[in-house]
Symmetry: C2
Subunit: 445 residues, 2 copies
C-alpha cells in the first residue's frame, strides 16, 4: 500500500466532488450542506462540496447552489484539491473512467454503482489499493441497509456459508401485486410503470441484471473471492405466471425474486454458487413478509448462525444515508492518513455452473386423469435421479378427463431436474407442465 | 492521537492475550487456532495466541493447549509483546484494571463487557484514544448481530432518532413462555433456570440491568453523546403478571422487555431518553415474533428510515463470531499502524427523566358494574391531562357486580400517567388496577 496524499492542514475542509445530481445525488448534496455541523464534529474536519458533475446545468435543483454545477466532470475529478469523489451516475461509462481518474489523482471514491463493481470491481479495487485511497460502496447493495460493512468487517472473522436476499424493490413490488391481486405480470408491470416503481425500460430490474450485480458483490465479500456479474446465474420474473403464484399459494408459499450466494464444501475444496431467480418460499419465512420497496438480506455463517438485515432498499433519502455513512468513514480515514480494508479475494474459489447447483423444486403438471399416470410420472423422476418429497393429485376443476399433479422434490441438481422436466413434457399422459420453480428456505426458521 | 506502538515486523505474528475461558472464551481460543489460515489471509499477518488468563488452571478445555493457561492475568496483559487483549471476564473488576493496564502497555482491546462500558466507557475510550489503540466491543450488545459497527460507521452520516430492541434473551424466553403457556412468572423462571436459560441469581437479566447497560451503549453511539447505565430508566419483568399477558393478548399484542433509546427535539435542543421496561407491542410488529434467545434491534433514522437487525443474541459461537470480527478489524488496524473511530460524544445531549417521557399506556381496571362509573374514570383521565384513545368495558366474568374496563391512552408523560393511576386506585368505584403497561410500536410497520 502506498500512502494516500496528505490531507489538508488541520481546520482546512476536506473537498468533495459529486458526480450525478438525480434523486440520490441531490439528497446527498443537501445533506452535506444541511448537516455540516454534525458531519464536521463526527469527522473532526469540515466538508466542502466543491462541484457537482451533471449532464445539463440550468435545471432548478432546490436547496443546491447552482454555482456548483458543471458539465466538465472529467476536469472536476482531476482537480488536485479534491479529497473525495462521490459517483452516483451509474452505468459503466463514463463512471469507470471518472472513478479511475479520481483514484489516479489521489482522491478516495464512494460509489453506489453496482453494475460497474460487478463488472470491473477487481481493477478498481487494485487501483485504489495501489494509490492508498478508499473505494467504499455501501449504497450499491440494498439501499440504506448496512450490509457491506457487516460482511466486510463484522463477520470477517467468521465463515459465511449463505447470503440470501430480496435486493430489488421493483420486482418485489410486482410479485407482491401479482400475489395480492391475482393479476398477470404484464398488467402489474404496466401499473408499476405508471406509479414510477418501474422504469420505462424495466429490463435491468425484471430480467434480474440489477439483482445479479448485487449478488456478485455480496458473494465476493462473503466468500473472499472474486465473483463478477457474469458468474451469477440469472433468471428474471418475466416468465412468472399466475399459475406459479397460485401454485405457491396452494403450498403456503409466496414467490420472491431471490439473490442467493452459497458456499459448498470445506476448506480448499469449497465452491461458490451465485444465482438470481424467482423462488417459492414458505409464508413463515422471514423473507416472505418483506413487501414492496423493502429489501432484506439473510446471512448464515458457521459461528454467528442466522442473521437478518432489513430496511428500505432504494429511494433518495435511504440511499443518501448509506452514501453519507461512507463519506464520514472515508473522510475520517483521510484525516488519519489511512485507508479502510481493501478487497479480500485471497480464497479464489471456483464458481459452480447452475447445472450442478442443488435445490428443491416445485412442479405443477396437467395430466390425464386415469390409472397408471402417477406411476409413469414417479418413474420419470426416478429415472432422472430426482427424489420426490411429495406428489399429490389436486382435484381437477374440469370434466374429469384431466387432473393436476403437484410435485415437490428433495434437493436435486439443476441439470437433472431440467432433463426430468423435458422428459415429463414428452410423456403422452402429460398435457402441460404448468409451473416449475425452485423452492427455498424450507429449512430456515 | 498518539501513534500506537509499532506492529511486529512483516511476517511476524500479532500476539493475542485472552482473558476468560468460559463458553465464549474457549470458542474464541479454538477459532483463533482452527481458522488460523483464513485469519492470516484476511489480516495479512498471522495471529498467535500467547496466553489465556483464567481463575483456575487444571480444568480440561478440549481443543485448547493447556500450556496457554495462566492465573497471573495482570502479568499477561502487561507483557510488552502482546498486541491485542480480548477481555471476556465480564463485571467491573478486575476487568477494568486489566483493560486499563493493557491499553497503558500499548495493546488494543476487544471486550464484550457491557456492564463495564456502561459504567466507565468514557474513561476507557479516552485512555485508548490517548494511547492510539483500539477499543472494540461488537460482542457487548446483541451477541452476533452486527449493531455496533452499523451505528458507529454505516449510519454515522445520518441522524438516528430511535433505537428499540430486544437485547436480553433470558427475559425474552421467560415472557415467551408466559405467553404461550399462560404460566406465571415464578414458574417460568424456575423452568428457565432448570434449562440453563437463566442464571441461579437471575437479577442482572430479570431486573433489566443487562438490557440497561446495552441501552446505554446503544444510546451513546446513536446520539453521539455520553449515556451511562445510571441514565437508563429500568424496570424488569418480575412484576409482569398473567393478567398483563392476558390483557396484551386481548388487544392483539405481546409483552416484550424492550430497550428503547429516543432522541426528541431538534438540533441543540434535542434530548435523549433511554429506558428498559416491559411493553405491549402489536402482534404485527416485527419485534413481536422475535422468540426465545434471538435478539432484534430496530433503528429509525431521518434519512435511512426503518432498519431492523436480527440474529442470535447470545451463546458461545455467536458471541465468538462478533469477537473474531473485531479481532480481524483491530489486527488490520495494527498492521496499518492506525486505529478505528474512537468515541463520538460531541453532542453532549441531556438525558430526560422518565417522568417527562411520553408514551402510550394500556390499563386494565376492575370496577363496579353500574351507571356513572365510566364517566368517573373518564373524568379522572381528563383531570390528569391524559388523553384516552379507547376505553371499553369488557364483559364481566362474575356475577354482574363487577366489570373490567380496558383503557389505551394517547401518548402521555409518565408523570401524568402515574398520578392518574394513583387517583384511579383511590376512586371508590375502582376495585383494583389489574394492569398498567406501556404500549410501543403502534405507529411502526
Amino acid at each position: 500500500m502506498t500512502e494516500s496524499r496528505q490531507p489538508p492542514a488541520a481546520g482546512e475542509p476536506l473537498r468533495i466532488a459529486l458526480l450525478g445530481c438525480g434523486v440520490v445525488g441531490s439528497e446527498v448534496a443537501r445533506l452535506i450542506t444541511g448537516s455540516a455541523d454534525d458531519l464536521r464534529a463526527r469527522i473532526g474536519r469540515p466538508l466542502e462540496l466543491v462541484g457537482i458533475g451533471v449532464r445539463r446545468t440550468g435545471i432548478e435543483r432546490p436547496g443546491i447552489d447552482p454555482a456548483l454545477f458543471t458539465t466538465d466532470t472529467a476536469a472536476l475529478v482531476a482537480r488536485d484539491d479534491v479529497d473525495i469523489v462521490i459517483e452516483l451516475i451509474g452505468g459503466i461509462e463514463p463512471a469507470r473512467s471518472l472513478i479511475t481518474s479520481a483514484i489516479d489523482h489521489g482522491a478516495s471514491v464512494i460509489t453506489a454503482n453496482k453494475a460497474l463493481l460487478a463488472e470491473d470491481g477487481a481493477s478498481l479495487f487494485a487501483a485504489a489499493e495501489q494509490a492508498g485511497v478508499d473505494l467504499y460502496f455501501e449504497a450499491a447493495v440494498a439501499g440504506a441497509i448496512p450490509i457491506i460493512r457487516p460482511l466486510r468487517e463484522s463477520l470477517v472473522g467468521d465463515e459465511i456459508t449463505q447470503v440470501m436476499g430480496i435486493v430489488n424493490g421493483t420486482t418485489n413490488f410486482i410479485l407482491d401485486k401479482m400475489h395480492s391481486q391475482g393479476a398477470g405480470y404484464a398488467d402489474v408491470l404496466a401499473e408499476a410503470q405508471a406509479l414510477g416503481y418501474a422504469e420505462a425500460d424495466p429490463t435491468a430490474d425484471v430480467e434480474g441484471f440489477d439483482a445479479a450485480a448485487k449478488a456478485a458483490i455480496l458473494a465476493g465479500l462473503a466468500f473472499h473471492s472474486r465473483v463478477s456479474g457474469a458468474d451469477v446465474h440469472r433468471e428474471g420474473i418475466t416468465e412468472v405466471t399466475r399459475s406459479d403464484i397460485a401454485s405457491a399459494r396452494d403450498m403456503g408459499c409466496v414467490v420472491k425474486l431471490l439473490a442467493i450466494c452459497e458456499l459448498s464444501g470445506d476448506g480448499a475444496d469449497a465452491t461458490i454458487n451465485a444465482r438470481v431467480h424467482p423462488a417459492m418460499i414458505p409464508d413463515s419465512h422471514p423473507l416472505a413478509s418483506v413487501g414492496g420497496a423493502y429489501n432484506a438480506v439473510f446471512v448464515q455463517s458457521r459461528s454467528a448462525g442466522q442473521l437478518m438485515f432489513y430496511g428500505p432498499g432504494a429511494g433518495g433519502s435511504p440511499t443518501a444515508s448509506a452514501v453519507l455513512g461512507d463519506l464520514v468513514t472515508v473522510a475520517r480515514n483521510r484525516v488519519r492518513e489511512t485507508s479502510g480494508p481493501g478487497e479480500s479475494s485471497y480464497a479464489r474459489r471456483p464458481v459452480r455452473s447452475i447445472g450442478e447447483v442443488v435445490t428443491r423444486y416445485h412442479l405443477s403438471l396437467e395430466v390425464d386423469d386415469r390409472a397408471g399416470v402417477l406411476a409413469a410420472i414417479a418413474n420419470c423422476f426416478a429415472e432422472h435421479d430426482v427424489s420426490v418429497q411429495t406428489l399429490r393429485q389436486v382435484t381437477s376443476p374440469g370434466d374429469g378427463a384431466e387432473a393436476r399433479i403437484v410435485v415437490v422434490t428433495h434437493p436435486a441438481p439443476d441439470a437433472a431436474l431440467s432433463a426430468c422436466v423435458t422428459a415429463l413434457s414428452d410423456l403422452p399422459a402429460v398435457h402441460e407442465v404448468l409451473s416449475v420453480m425452485r423452492v427455498e428456505g424450507m429449512t430456515t426458521p
